[in-house]
Structure formats: structure tokens, C-alpha cells
Amino acid sequence: MVETSDIRVVRCGGSKVNLTPPIISSDSRFVLCTSGDLVKVYSTRTEEWLHSLQGHTNQVTGITLNPANHLQVYSCSVDGTVKLWDFIDGILIKTFVIGCPLFAIYVSEKHTGVLFLHVSMATDSKNECFQLVSVHLPKSAEQEVEAKEMSAVSSHISKNPSCTAFGRGGEYIAFARHLQLNVYFFRKQKTYSFSLKATDKKGAKNAFTCIACHPTDDCIATGHEDGKIRLWRNFIHKKEYTYSTQHWHHNAVNTLCFTPEGTHLLSGGIESVLVQWQYGADNRKEFLPRLGGSILHISASSDGQLFCTSHSDNKITVIESSFKVCGVIQGLVKGDAVLTDLMIDPRSKALVLNGKPGHLQFYSLLRDKHLYNLDIVQQEYIYEAGLDQFEVVKAAFDIKGSWLATVEERGKKSSDLEFFLKLWAFDERTQSFVLNTTITAAHTDRIISMCFSSSEETTMLVTAAEDSQFKAWCQGADADTQQDQNFWSCDFVGSYHKLNPTNCSFSADSSLLAVSFQEVITIWSPDTWEMLTTLCQPPGVIRDLCFGRLSCSKYLLGTTTKNLLCCWNLLTCELEWSTSVDVSKLQPDPFSENVAAFSYQSKHTDLFVFKPSEPRPLFTNKNVCSEKVHRAVFVPREEPLNSCDESTQWLNRSQLYFLTQNMDLLTFSTATEEDRMLSSSKQLVIDDSVAVTPFYLLLGKHRQQQQKLNTQSHPVSDKPQQTQGSVTIKELLHTPAHVLPAASVLCSMFVNSFLISNTGVQQDPLREEMDSEKEEEDSEEEMEACDSQQELRAQGSVDEVTPKLSKAQERELKRVRKTDFSWMAGLIDSKP
């Protein structure tokens, strides 16, 4: 067994950006959001990921701007630390060690040097009881400080961080749990609590879901589970409080947010509609519908010009105050489950899986960036809880990436299942997939497995369904409809003893098709549709099926539900070897003979990478993760590694990504690769942080030009000059003052040191010129004329520095110089 430490499992790309409310920097140029153990900084204008604040060792649970310095941000994490960052340069300023897991962070302007944090009260995680504590930050110059000065504010805290809010810049704090709203006044040190009944006559669910406080007024807005919004007033008096109710949302209100001036209240819920209520005139509202997934958080920038909504489909939308979407920051969408397999688009090498409802998402793993969504279902998605809607459940690419087959399904719960098989052609012009054929009743029951033939010439799709049939689909003329050649139609229907098929797979050269029917594997020839042979290794239903590649193409691998991994030799039609291992996912590498098998045993997953022809595995990694792995994919590398190490060789040409049940996307990386990554990340430079204002345009242009000029002229003429000058300056500066001659003497020398001296032949005409000019100066009487002349000369000298002049030109110049310009003096005089 080869187990080496240089291959390790790393979490890669696409962690959640919607866990906490995003914050907008005070100049509205950056959006900060938490993403796993990072805080990511995005540009609001370009939606580009600028850099990330790295340092926490566990999930970051909250971020907030430092009220004392708007260029700094506090972040808290489950690892028990609060960190203070300079987010523009990405520098960690300070770390405060609190010592227990933190779940949310709040600050307010009136409480400088104090942080309010959510901490878990109970030691056991089952009984979730949270406490709001205030922490005084010790003033210390050290990088890492322990902050132990804690005082509890309240223990009636909901675990939902949006159920706590500061009012009027920190005069009071409002927090709600279940059916009780508490307001704690800092000055009085008193808590008032108001409670609602669980349900009223109409059966409304009154539990609190979120809370927001008006920035200037004494008003608290609360959202409720049944979609109502209540505005509480006059809560300073415990008995005489009032509230008004507004109802637009039909499901729970997820989040509420007042604009900084307090003129509007924003609310959002599962409907994915951002609602803007005018404060004071409660019936006037504006809507921004169809934003994406359900809205989880809303935040507003400090000047009120931008809003940010984060959505359940791992997306942050940047919205202008005029209610126009101006930017979308999309992460890897991970729903409740990945229904389609993980796939690689052969063209863009992007990871493809089902993303937001009814869509396939294309995600670039290299750049960790969402590329685009392909709308498969093409129907209006209704944001309503518990509604059964179409979902993409299967997808497959052909080998060139010019065809995509998808299956969408609806009706998992009810008995009548609806599904469509769709075929998409790649359009070179628009560079995306275009719907080619929709097959409404491809099978009479659910499609279980689907694969394209792997040959380059003819594309063929095979679908296997629960109606105990498998069908082959071909592009070509349909005898019935007489339509163009471009459409797909059924070519063959096959079945075997009315058994339900479980999987299907084409061999590497697509000369064979293997379809497994329960315990039996049938091998078909796709050319003649003749069944060639059957393979069987009971007991256990065949779960996964794959052919070997390249030199191992004579082997067929199969896994059964009874923990057996079998390998058949297709030449002899005999079982080559079999081993007892519970394989949850079998994934062949398309670029080599290697096959990766994930096995789940005693609560952890092991990985084996092996060649079908060899009995010994190439690589074994015990305890890859603690969950079952059901999806995995080999991603081809852009440039192959050339590692000679036996254990890392299998990662040379492609990289193995896999998805755990917790929807973490993990991969294996080698030490060499990490080094390379590190070196490349250091080269990344943050973009210039100067806003593009008209003033900047004016000055910036000027500065750039200057820089250009400098870079051009420096090497030609200035360099020797500078060295010379520096000598004189050195002389001047390093000589003790008492031995220096008079300043008037030094002055000319000093000034001369800055003059440009030409060497060689060129010097002579200049000298002559100077001489002649001197004569001129003498002859001239009027001072103004002299000035103008000098100006001219200055200009002239600048011009003459670089180009070499021919003799004739020089003569001409001299002639011009000598002509009398006194008439111009008159002109200049007369002008003002």
C-alpha cells in the first residue's frame, strides 16, 4: 500500500456565499461576503472576485464594518476568533481570541471598542441555546490578543442571526425568539418583552423570522412566518406599545432591511421578489420580481445607493437604488442534491451539474467562476414552498461536446410522472446549446441511465428506463414525420426478459454496448443490434458499469449492491477477478486506464485508484472523508504535470473531483501543484483602488502621459545628466556647511548641474547658438521682448534635445533666431 503525504484532499471552489448578509463598503465599490473559511471581496461594478481575506480556520459566520474605520472589517468564525482586516489591501490587522465558537457579530457606533457576539450557551449541540454577549476589545499593539472581558446581554436569542438588530445607532437592541420580541435599552439596562399568540383565528403563524430597526425613528420592523410584517412603535413604554401589520408575502419573510435614511423598508422571502415599502406610507410598495432563488439577506450600502440581496441559489445580486439590477455574483449553485452526475463539458472543460431549478450550470473549476446557466426546462419557475416542479435529473454530453442530452422530471411525489428527454445541439455562432429535439414520451417510466456513444463519427444516445426497455436514439430522418435530417428519433428498442435495466455504458470505441438488467449484464453490438453475450455474477443487482480504456479496453468493470467489484474479460467472456468492497462510485479516467473507486466502509470513505489489468491498486487513500461519495469526475488538466512519483502519476493528466453528501466539492492535489498555485497567487495584484471620476480622468491621463514620457526619455538623455547632477548635489550636500562657498557662487553650479549637456559634435552648434542669443539679448532693449524670446528659447531647447539636425536646418534655425522679433513685442503689448 502506498500512502504518501504529498497527496492530500483539499476543498475546492464554490463554497456558499449566501450564508451571511453581504456588506457593501462605504464607497460602494466592494462587496464583502463570507465563503467557507474566507471572506471574499468582490467589485460591485465588474462583479469580479478581487481577493479574499484568508486566515480563519473554520467557517466564517459573520462580518461587519468597523464603525470607527470604514476601511476595516471585523469577521467572526466558528474557530472562536474575531479578526480585524484591512479589506482593500487584504491585510490582517488584529486577531481577538474569544475562545468559543461564534455565530454572529454585531457592532454599533455608540459602543466603541465593544463587539456583540452570538455564542452557543449549551455545551451539547443538540439543545441549541444561544447567548448574546458583549466583548470589550483590549487595546494592545500585539497582533493576537485574547479578549476575555465578556458580559452577557441576553440569553433569549434565536439562532437565526437576522433576529437581532440594533436600533437608533445603538440605543437599544431588539431581538426576537419564537413568539417573543425583546428590546434591551442600554441606558436603562432594562429589557422589555412583547409576545404574540402562536396563531390567531385565521390560523396565521406568528413566529418571528427576522427583525430590523429604523435608523432614526423608534420603530422596529419584524417579519413573521406567515408573511406578515409588523411595525412596532412606542415600545419604550411596556404597556402602551402599538404595532401595525402589513401583508404581502405569502410565505415567511426571510429578511428585512431599512435604507440608511430610513425612508424605505426592504423585505424579501421565498417568492424571490424584493419589496420596497415606503416608510410612513405603508401601502405604497415597489417590486423587483424574479431575482433568482429565494432571498435570504438584504443589505444596503451606507449611502443608500446600492442594495445587495443574497439568494438561496448561492448568488448575490447588486441592485441600484432605482431598483435596477446592476450586477450578479454567482457562486457554484448547490441545491439539496446533485441529481445529474458531475460532468465535464468537452468544449469549455467546465464542470456541469444541475444548478438553479430547471437549469444546468457551467462552472469553471480553474477560475472558480460560474460561467453560465443553460435553461433546460424553459418554464416560469414558481417560488412557492412545496410545489412540485420540473427538475433536470439526467444530462450527458457526447464526446465532442456538440450534443447534450437532458432529462427533466416532475412528479416524484405524486403518482403521475412527467418527464421529457431533450437533445441540445451546440451552436457555433452563439457558442451555446440550442434545443434541437424534445421527446415527450421517450419511455413509459422513469429514465434510469443515459449515455452517448463514444465514437466521433456517429452520435447515438442510449436511454434505459424502468419500463424494462432500453432505447437507442439516432440523429436522422424519421420515417413518419419526414423532417430534416437534424432531428433525433428512435432507432432501436431492446429488452431482456422483462427485467428492469439498471445501467448502460458504451465501450471506448463504442463497438459494444453494455446494459445491465438487475443481476445480468448484456453486451450488444450497436451496429447490428445483436445481443452478443450475457455476463452474470450473482448475487446483487449491478449498480455501476464501466469499460476499461486504452490498453485495458478488453475489461468490463461492474459493481453490485452486494459489495462486489467484478472485472470481466470481454475476450474470454469470463470473470477476470472480483473483490469484496462496497463501491459507492466507480469513475473511469477518460485519459488513462485508471479507474477510481470510492468505497464506503464503517463511516468513512476510502479511495482506490487501480488499473483493471493489475491486481494491485496504484493509489489508496484511506479516510478521504466521512460521508458517502456518490458523484465524482475526472477533470482534464490544462497542462499535464510531469510527476514521476508512482503514487501521484495518476494525477498527471487529470484531476479527480468528488462531491460528498454534504455537498462539499473536494479534490486531490499534489505538493508540486500547491507550490505552483502559491507562486501564482502571489503575482495577483489588486486593481487600482482609485475611483474613476472626471477629476481622476483628467489627472490620471496627465500622470500616465508623464509616466510614458519619462519612460521614453529617461534612457536617452536624462540618465547621464542625472548622474552628473547627482555628483554635484552630493558635493553640495556632503560638504560641511562651514567650508561651503557663498550660496551665490554655488547657485550657478547647482543650476548648471540640472542643464542638459550634449556631448560631441552636437555641443558646438548649441554653444554657438547660445552665444548668438546672448548677443541678441544684449541688443534687445525691451525686457518683455526678452522674456518672450527666452520662452521661445526654452521651448526650442526642449525640442532640440533629441533630434539630430542637419547642417542646413541648423543654419536655417540660426537665421530665424537672428531675425528681429521686436515687432512681436508691439503685438504682445497691444494685446492686453
Binding site: V325, Q379, I382, L387, F390, C490, G494, Y496, E530
Partner: protein, 518 residues
């Protein structure tokens, strides 16, 4: 922010008629002009000369029509009995016609009186024609003879009696002045050579021959008779090339289009069929009565069909010019200028472009769905025009409502009138396989919702009764079909040899392979 996605209306591919170039070509005719004649139209012949007038033989007259006139520009009425087979000479100046009394008359196209009369036939002469030299006339008669006449001297040159029944079809060769083909009720087609004075080739058609036709190359011969159209290859000594059976009554006439030599046949079953070069029917004209005669003008400008009820139906070809003049006359709306106004403006470099948001146009039901007005959307989809002419739109809206889980809400709370609308729609379409699934759910929901109040309205009750009957009949039908399927399965199973298991046939049945299983 994504825009509202309109409801997708599924268009299932249409089975049956396919659109080919041929159908497009033959569909490109205006609706027929009907001209009433005095009796059954037995022969139509187009003049080979430029204005392409055509002579129509009906009853005791021969009318000559211009291409676009509905009134005859000339008529020959000097027949005492029914005239037959009026046909032009190759230069279009002379016209010859037989008659019931056995006389053959020859007319100048400008005159009224017959120039020549050929007497000699003892019975009716149904077919006459000029030979291609233009100086001789050939005729076929019910007295079983075929005679050749000299035009200048009006004497009979020869008489051939080889047929044993009435001669009703004749076609002179255009390339050889001594050859002609006759078809007779004795089921034979004969090729005569005047140089030998006897038949040189005899083909058995198998039915009384109504019409014979030579291709311009004169290598192929078409004969019609009974329900059959047969093509003979003369160069292979009269071998039968194809036998076509596309009509279900006697095929009375055949002609060739001048563009692409497409064969057209007309029959007593009131259809004109157009064949392509591989003798597949590519187009079909329907007529009001049994067809007796048919002719196509040069360049296919006109298709003239004569029928037993004395109606001559003339179809003129549509031209692009006509269409343009028509549209230019019809157009009263704003001119093209209005629509491109400001659209073709190219912004200059320094201009700041403010783009206007593109407005999304939605159908009415989509607008209502967008604002979640489900009942109204269903009402819109059930409007008269939509539910009669585009039932798929109505069904698409129903499917969409079902997907949204609001179909029940949309169906609830309706009065008798709107409920009848829904039930009528169900009655009409519930057994259409495309729509049956969503409509059955609609039926279920309607029954669930209105069970308590159904008896209050006799109209609705009657409709539900009918719905039940219809569904019962459909169920019986399905059952019978399944029984037939079962019988067929056993038949197929007994046909295949033992130890072989027949796989289910794929969609194209003839490709369904036999699969072997161990």
C-alpha cells in the same frame, strides 16, 4: 433579473402530408374558375401556338377559349349529334373533331363552316387527331376501325381493323409522322406504323383502355384504363415499366405537365393526381364531379379539367407579380419608413447611448398568468377562437396551471355557462391522445368540485352523461385494440422459430430485428 417565460405550447409533429417542392409547385394555383358547358366535357386540347387557346368538346359544340377569358372566343356548333375529340393541328390553325354520327369534320380556326368532312366510319368516332406531318388525320371509331385520311383531298388513305372493341384512345407520334398509338376497349394498346399498314406492337393493359399518352421522348407510353395507370417502355419492345393503382375508380384521362414532365391523371373518383418522376403521388386536386378530360397548358400556366356534369374547371397559376400588385393594393397601413424611423441611426463616437429596455410581448393568458390571475387565464384560453382553432394552446394553459398547482382554483367557482364551455371542450378533445392526460385531470377536478351542485343544472348533467358515454366507448375501443394486439402477438410468436425470443419491434417496423437471448 430574468424575464417572465411565456407558456410553452407544444407542437407535436404532424403525421401525413409532407411538404415537398412538388406540392408547393402544384399548390401554387389560384382557386378554379368554373365554366358551365352544355354537356359532359369529353375533350380539352390546348393550341400549340402562342396565345394557347384551348378547344373544349362538350355535347354538340366545340368552344375555343382564350387563356384568361371565361366566354368562348369562338365556337363550332355545326354538329347534328354529340361531337368528340376536338384537337388542334401542330400549327394551331386547323381543328379536327369526330362525332356521334360517324362524320369527321375539319375546321379552320377562324371560320365557322367545316372545311372538310371525312365520311366512312359507320359508328361514332370518339378520337381524332392530326398526324405530325399535318396533312393526314387519323381517327378511331366504335366500328373497330382506325382510319387515316388525307386532308387536301379528303379521301381515306387506309383503314385498319385490328382492335376487337371500340377504340377510345389515340395518340399520334410527334417525331414520326407514320406512327400512332391506339387504345381500345379490347384491353389492348397497339402501335401502328403507316408504312407497314399494320400494328407493330401490342400491349395488354388488362382493362378497357380509356386514354393513351406518349412521353415527348416517345420512349415511354402511358395507358389508363380501369383503376390502373400503366407505363410501357417502347424501346424495350413494349415492356411494362410500372403499374399504378392510386385511383379508386376508372382513370379516364392522363396528361403531362410541360415543366419536368410530371404525369397527371384524372379519374371518375373526382381526383386529379400528380406523380413525380419515380411515379409517387406528390399532389392531389379535388374536383366536384367525375373527371372525363384534362389538359395542361404549356408552361403549366393553366390546368383545365372537364367533368361529367358539364363543368369545366380552369386553374390558373399564381405569379409573384400578381401577389405583389395584390399586396400593394391592400396595404393601407403606415409605410416602411415609419417602422425604420430612428432604427437605422448609427451613433457617433462621442454619443452616449441610452438603450431602451426591450419590451416583452406576451399573450393575454401569459399576462394573466404572470400576475397569478389563474381563473382569468383559463377563461382567456377557453375563448371561442382559441379553443376551436388552437386547442393545443388551451391545453398548454391547463398544463401550466396544473404545474403551478392552481388548476383547482382556476376551475372552482364557475357558473353554468363557463362550466359548459369547459365540458364541451372536454367532450371534443378528451380522447385525443395528445390531450387526454391533462384533460382527464380536469374532468376529475370538475367532478370533485361540483359534485354537490351538479343536479341543479340539467345542461351540465346532460353533458356529463355524454362525457360518460364517450369515455365508456373509448374504453371499449381500447380494450378491443389490446385484444387485437394480443392476437397479433401470439401470431408473431408462433411464426418465429423456437428458442428465439422476439424483441419488441422498434418504431420503424421493418427494421425491427430479431434478437437472440440465451
Amino acid at each position: 433579473m430574468a424575464s417572465f417565460k411565456p407558456t410553452k405550447v407544444q407542437f407535436l409533429p404532424k403525421l401525413g402530408e409532407k411538404v415537398t417542392e412538388d406540392t408547393l409547385y402544384w399548390k401554387n394555383y389560384k382557386s378554379p374558375v368554373q365554366i358551365k358547358e352544355f354537356g359532359a366535357v369529353t375533350k380539352i386540347d390546348f393550341s400549340p401556338l402562342a396565345p394557347h387557346n384551348y378547344a373544349v368538346t362538350a355535347s354538340t359544340r366545340i368552344h375555343v377559349y382564350g387563356l384568361h377569358s371565361q366566354e368562348p372566343i369562338r365556337s363550332f356548333t355545326r354538329f347534328r349529334d354529340t361531337a368528340y375529340g376536338g384537337s388542334f393541328r401542330g400549327d394551331g390553325k386547323l381543328l379536327v373533331a369526330g362525332s356521334e354520327e360517324g362524320l369527321i369534320r375539319l375546321f379552320d380556326i377562324c371560320g365557322r363552316v367545316a372545311l372538310r368532312q371525312f365520311t366512312g366510319h359507320s359508328k361514332a368516332v370518339h378520337v381524332t387527331s392530326f398526324l405530325s406531318d399535318g396533312f393526314r388525320v387519323v381517327s378511331g371509331s366504335d366500328d373497330l376501325t382506325c382510319r387515316v385520311w388525307d386532308v387536301p383531298s379528303a379521301v381515306e388513305l387506309s383503314s385498319i381493323t385490328e382492335h376487337t372493341d371500340y377504340i377510345r384512345a389515340l395518340a399520334p407520334s410527334k417525331l414520326n409522322p407514320d406512327l400512332f398509338v391506339t387504345g381500345s376497349y379490347d384491353h389492348t394498346v397497339k402501335v401502328f406504323d403507316m408504312r407497314s399498314g399494320s400494328s407493330v406492337m401490342t400491349m395488354q393493359h388488362g382493362h378497357p383502355v380509356e386514354c393513351v399518352l406518349l412521353y415527348p421522348s416517345e420512349a415511354l407510353l402511358v395507358s389508363t384504363g380501369g383503376r390502373y395507370v400503366k407505363i410501357w417502355d417502347l424501346l424495350k419492345g413494349g415492356q411494362e415499366l410500372v403499374s399504378l393503382k392510386n385511383h379508386h375508380k376508372t382513370v379516364t384521362c392522363a396528361c403531362l405537365s410541360s415543366v419536368g414532365n410530371k404525369l397527371l391523371t384524372g379519374s371518375l373518383d373526382r381526383h386529379v393526381k400528380v406523380y413525380n418522376s419515380s411515379y409517387k403521388v406528390v399532389h392531389n386536386f379535388d374536383c366536384d364531379a367525375s373527371i372525363l378530360s384534362m389538359a395542361v397548358a404549356p408552361d403549366d400556366e393553366v390546368v383545365a379539367v372537364g367533368m361529367t356534369n358539364g363543368v369545366l374547371s380552369v386553374r390558373h397559376r399564381k405569379h409573384k407579380k400578381d401577389k405583389e400588385t395584390l399586396t400593394s393594393r391592400r396595404r393601407r397601413g403606415p409605410s416602411y419608413r415609419v417602422f425604420v424611423k430612428g432604427k437605422n441611426f448609427v451613433p457617433r463616437q462621442d454619443d452616449f447611448l441610452v438603450s431602451k429596455p426591450v419590451k416583452q410581448y406576451l399573450r393575454k393568458y401569459d399576462k394573466q398568468l404572470k400576475s397569478f390571475e389563474v381563473s382569468k387565464a383559463l377563461d382567456t384560453a377557453l375563448q371561442m377562437w382559441t379553443r376551436t382553432s388552437k386547442p393545443e394552446v388551451t391545453v398548454a394553459v391547463i398544463i401550466e396551471l396544473n404545474r403551478r398547482g392552481t388548476l383547482k382554483n382556476a376551475l372552482a367557482g364557475r357558473n353554468e355557462e363557463s362550466l359548459t364551455k369547459i365540458l364541451n371542450f372536454l367532450l371534443k378533445h378528451i380522447f385525443d391522445p395528445r390531450f387526454s392526460r391533462p384533460l382527464l385531470t380536469v374532468g376529475d377536478i370538475v367532478l370533485d368540485l361540483y359534485r354537490q351542485v351538479l343536479h341543479q343544472s340539467p345542461v351540465v348533467e346532460r353533458q356529463l352523461q355524454r362525457l360518460m358515454e364517450v369515455l365508456g366507448r373509448e374504453a371499449e375501443l381500447q380494450q378491443e385494440l389490446l385484444q387485437v394486439l394480443g392476437i397479433l402477438d401470439t401470431l408473431f410468436a408462433s411464426l418465429t422459430p423456437r428458442k428465439e425470443v422476439a424483441a419488441l419491434a422498434a418504431l420503424p417496423v421493418d427494421q425491427g430485428p430479431q434478437l437472440q437471448a440465451a
